[in-house]
Amino acid sequence: MRRLIFSLLLILLFSVGYAQQKFTLSGTVRSQRTGETVINASIKPVNSTEGMSSNEYGFYSITLPAGEYIIEYSAVGFETVAENVTLDQDVSKNIVLPDEIKNLDNVTVSASGKGRTITGTQMGVERLSITEVKTIPMLLGERDILKAIQLLPGIKPAGDGNSGFYVRGGSADQNLILLDEAQVYNASHLMGFFSTFNSDAIKDITVYKGGMPAQYGGRLSSVLDVKMNEGNNQNYELSGGIGLISAKLNLEGPIQKNRSSFLLSGRRTYADVFVPLAKDTALRNNKLYFYDYNAKFNYKMGEKDNIYVSGYFGRDYLKLDQQFGINWGNITGTLRWNHIFNSRLFSNTSFIYSDFDYNININNPNNDLDIYSKIRDLNLKQEFQWYAGSRHSLRFGLNSIYHKIRPGDVTSSGNASFNNFYLQDRYSWENALFVTDTWKAAPWLNVTYGARLTSFAVLGAGDFYEIDADGNITDTLTYKKGEIVKNYLNLEPRLAASFIINQTSSFKTSYVRNVQNLHLMSNSTTGAPTDKWLASTNIIKPEIADLFSVGWYKNFAENRYEFSTEAYYKKMYNQIDYRTGADVFTNDAIESQILFGIGRAYGWELFLKKKTGKATGWISYTLSKTERKINGINDGAWYNARQDRIHDVAIVVNYQLNRKWNLAANWIYYTGDAVTYPAGKYIIDNQVVFYYTKRNADRMPAYHRLDLGATWLLKNKKNFTSELAFSLFNAYGRENPYIITFRQNKDEPMRTEAVKTSLFRFVPSISYNFKFK
C-alpha cells in the first residue's frame, strides 16, 4: 500500500513536471581512439532516474526539464565521461569516450555488456562484446561469435563443434541472421564447423531470443544482429593472426581524419583443414577450404549525415579427385544513410543486397553434370527514431524485400546421359510496416507496444499446384509474370512491460508474434549447403509463432553480479517437414513432398554473471521441452523435436592471472539429442533393414565437454601489440556422439550392434595475433 501511494505521488510529481519547460540534449557518442560510433552507451543525468542509450549508430536524444545537469556518458570498455550541461535550449553535444585504462597493479576486467538493463522493457536479449568472445576457447582456436552465443541460456548448439544454433525450441532456419542488416542465408563454413563471421571485423553482437523489437521480422525464433566495425577514422591499424587452420589480416584507417574511414578484412583457411589430420593418405588429394572478406567504408557529410557502405563476400570450396566439386557462399552488401533531422528525429535509410548460392559439379570420364541454385534479396528499409518527449520514444518505418529463388538448374554437356533441367524460378515480394512506442508510463513501469504488419506476395511467372492430402497434384495453375498468386497479410503484435521493483531489480513480461515466409528444408543432422530454401506458396502457408515470456532481473553486490531468469512458452503454426522418400531436387511441385503441422516449446532459463574483477564469467542453465505434431509423422501424435534437450548447462570462466596471462575455461553439458532408434529389424532382398516406430523417442548419450584456453600477451607497446593464444578443445577427451548408426556384427552377421561415431577429442591449437597501431 505504501508503495502504491509512493508511486501515485511520483506520477503526480511527473505530471506537474510536465508543466515545466523541457529541452532536448542530443548528439553522437564516439570512441576517442578509433572515432567509431559507440552502440548502446548509457547517457544519464547524475542523481536522476532518467536515462537513455545511444542507438546502433551512436546517436542519442534525451529530453529533460530545463536546468543544470551533470550528464554521465558510459559504455563497456570506455572510461566514463561527465559533462556539465545547461539545458535552457535544445543542446547538441557530440561526445568522445577514451578507452578504459586498465589499472596494472590491480587488474580489473570489465567484461560485461550493459545490454541487459533493469529498467528497460527488452526481454530475451543477449549481448556479447568482442572482448568476451576473444578469450573463450574454441575448436582449432578459431574465434567464433556464433559458438560464443551458444553458451548463453536458451541458445543451443546444433551439434559437436557446430556454429549452427537453436533458440528456444526453434529450428536452425528460424534465426534471422543479419550482418549490417543484410540477411545471411547460410551462416556457416565447412559443414557448420565455422561461422561466416570473422570476429576481427565485428563490432557488436545482439541476440534477441524473445521480445523482438518490431523493426525485425521474418523469422520465428530469434534475431542475431551483427554489426561490422566501421574502420578507425583517427589512425591506421594493421592487425592479423595466424592460427592452425586460418590466417587473417585486417587493415583500417582514416581516408580523411574525423570524416571518413575504411576497413578491409580477410580470412582464408589453409588448403585443407581436416585433411592433414587424416590417417588415410588417399584423402589428402582432396581440397577443402574457405575464405571470406569484409569491407566497409563510411563518410561523414557534415554534422547531420552519415553514409556507410559495407559488404561481405565468402566462399567454400570442396574438391574430390578432380571429379567432384561443390562450392557455396554468401554475398551481402549494405548502403546506409543516417540523417539527423533535428535533436529528436533520427532517420536511417538502407539498401541491402544479399545472395546465397551453391554449385555442384561432377565431371568424370562417363558423365558431367552441373547443379546451380541461388537465393537473392533486394531490400529497402526506411526507419525513423522519434524521441517524442521525456516519456515516449518511437521507432517506425517500412521494409520492402524482393526475393528471387532459383531452386535448381541442372545442366550437362551434349554427350552426357542427362537432360538439362530447370526448376521454376520463384519470386516474392515481402513488405512490412512497423511502429513501436517505448513509453515510460510511470517511474515503476515502462511499456513497449507496437506491431509489425507484413504482407507477403507470391508472384508469377510460373505454374502453381493444387495438392490433395496424399500429395498428388490435382490441378496446375499458370500465372503470368508479376501476377499475384497469393498474398498473405499478417499482423504481428509486439508487447512488453517492465515493472521496476527497485534500482537493482525488475520484473518483465512480453508477448510477440513472428511470421516466417521463407522456409529451409533440411534432412541432414547438421545442415548442409544444399538444404533448400522455399518461399511460401498457395499451399505452403507462412509459419507463425506466438511467444509469451516472463522474467525477473536482479543486480547485486554493487552491480558486480547480475542474475536473471526467464520462462517462456512458444506455440508454432504451419511447421513443415519432409514426406517419407521426399525428392526435392527434381520436383517442381515441392508441395507434394512435404507435410504440415504445429509445434510447441517451453522452458525456464537461469543466468548468473560476474561482470568485474580478476575472475569473470557466467553460469547458464536451461530446462526446456520442444515438440512437433505433424500430420503424417508419428501417427499424427506429438513427438520430440530433434533439438529437444531437457537440461542445458554452460559455465564460462575467465581469469586475468597477471598482465601477461589470461586463462579461460568453459564447460558445457546437455541432454542428448532426441533421435529415432530402430525398434526391430527384418530382411529385404538379403539385406537387413530396420523397423522404426516412434519418431525421436530415443536419446543420444548426454553431451559434455571442457575447453581450456590461455592467452599470453607477448608485447604491449604503444604502436605494437602481439599475443599467443593456446586452446585445448574437449580437454578430457569425452567421446561425444556425433551420430549413432546400426549395423550387423562382422563376426556374427545375425547380431545387430549400435555404433557411436564421435569427432573431436583433445584438439589443441595455437595461434599468433598482432596489431600495429
Binding site: L283, G581, G680, Y682, I684, T741, R743, E753
Partner: protein, 279 residues
C-alpha cells in the same frame, strides 16, 4: 539424382571420418510388437515369388524362419487368381507364372490367426521392358583409390515415367548397394551409369565374374527403394530415419513389384591367370 546427393554426403562425411572415431555402444532399445513383412516379385523372366516373414527384435538374432501357413495369391487384372505354394521353411511361396509388361498384378496375402485381420494386399503394374544394352568395366580413381567399376548402358524410352533398379552380382553373390534411377533427368537419353559403391575399400577385382540385372520398376517401387536407401538402413546421416514408403496395404512392411528384367555378364579383365569352375 539421389546418387549425386549421396556423393555430396559422402564427400562431406569423408572429411569428417578422417578425424572421427567409432565405438560399439549399448543402446536402450524399446522392443515393439513384431510386424509382418511381405516381399513380392513377379517378373517377365518366369519368377513369381513371395516371401512372408516377421520382424525380429533388435537384440535378437535375425529370425530367418518365415510364415509358412499364409494364403498367397497373385492375380493378373482380368484373369483368375494364381495360388502360390510354400516351398520351404523360410516363408517363400512360388508359382509357375510369368508376368507380362503393361499388365497390372494384385497380390493378396492372408495370414490365418494374425492379429488385426492379417490380410495384406498390393498392386503393381509391370512397366514396358527396356533392355540393358551393354556392361563393361571402367577403371578410375574414386576417393583416392583406383577402382574397377561396373558400368552399364541403356536407352531410356522417349515417354516419361520410367524407373530402374540395378543389382550387381559378383561371382553369383548379390551386392547389397541399392542402385536406382528414374528418368526425370535422363528421359530419352542413351544413359551411361557407373555402379559406384560408396565404400572406402570396395573395388571389383581382376577375374571377378560380374552380372548386372536391370529391373524396370514402377513408380511406387522406385519410392520404396529410394526411401529405404535414405532412411531405413541404419547407416544414414538422415535426421529422420523411418520405414520406407510401402505399397503394401493392411499394415505389413515390404513391397510388391512387377518388373521386367534384363541382365548381362562380364569377367573383370580376364586373362590366363583367371580360373573359373567349369559350368
Amino acid at each position: 539424382m539421389s546418387p549425386i546427393l549421396k556423393l555430396t554426403c559422402i564427400v562431406i562425411s569423408a572429411s569428417l571420418i578422417a578425424v572421427s572415431c567409432e565405438r560399439v555402444i549399448s543402446v536402450d532399445i524399446k522392443d515393439a510388437p513384431l510386424q509382418y513383412v511381405v516381399e513380392g516379385v513377379i517378373t517377365d523372366d518366369s519368377i513369381c515369388r513371395v516371401r512372408v516373414s516377421q520382424t525380429s527384435n533388435f537384440h535378437d538374432s535375425l529370425n530367418l524362419v518365415g510364415i509358412n501357413n499364409a494364403l498367397v495369391t497373385i492375380t493378373e487384372e482380368g484373369r483368375s487368381p494364381i495360388v502360390l505354394i510354400s516351398a520351404s521353411e523360410r516363408g517363400i511361396y512360388r508359382a509357375r507364372f510369368t508376368g507380362r509388361p503393361g499388365r497390372t498384378y494384385h497380390l493378396r496375402v492372408e495370414v490365418p490367426g494374425a492379429a488385426n485381420a492379417g490380410v495384406f494386399t498390393a498392386t503393381s503394374t509391370m512397366p514396358k521392358k527396356v533392355w540393358l544394352d551393354s556392361l563393361y568395366i571402367t577403371q578410375r580413381v574414386f576417393l583416392g583409390r583406383t577402382r574397377n567399376i561396373a558400368t552399364i548402358r541403356f536407352k531410356d524410352p522417349p515417354e516419361r515415367g520410367n524407373a530402374y533398379r540395378f543389382i550387381q552380382y559378383v561371382d553369383g553373390k548379390a551386392e547389397t548397394t541399392i542402385f536406382i534411377a528414374k528418368d526425370d533427368l535422363i528421359n530419352g537419353h542413351s544413359v551411361t551409369d557407373e555402379l559406384l559403391i560408396f565404400n572406402d575399400a570396395y573395388t571389383l577385382n581382376k577375374c571377378d565374374q560380374v552380372r548386372v540385372e536391370m529391373q524396370c520398376i514402377d513408380q511406387p517401387n522406385y519410392l520404396f527403394w529410394y526411401s529405404l536407401n535414405q532412411g531405413s538402413l541404419g547407416s544414414s546421416q538422415s535426421a529422420s530415419p523411418g520405414n520406407p514408403a510401402s505399397n503394401i496395404k493392411g499394415g505389413a512392411l515390404g513391397y510388391f513389384s512387377a518388373h521386367a528384367v534384363s541382365a548381362l555378364n562380364i569377367a573383370v579383365f580376364p586373362d590366363s591367370t583367371c580360373s573359373y569352375p567349369a559350368d
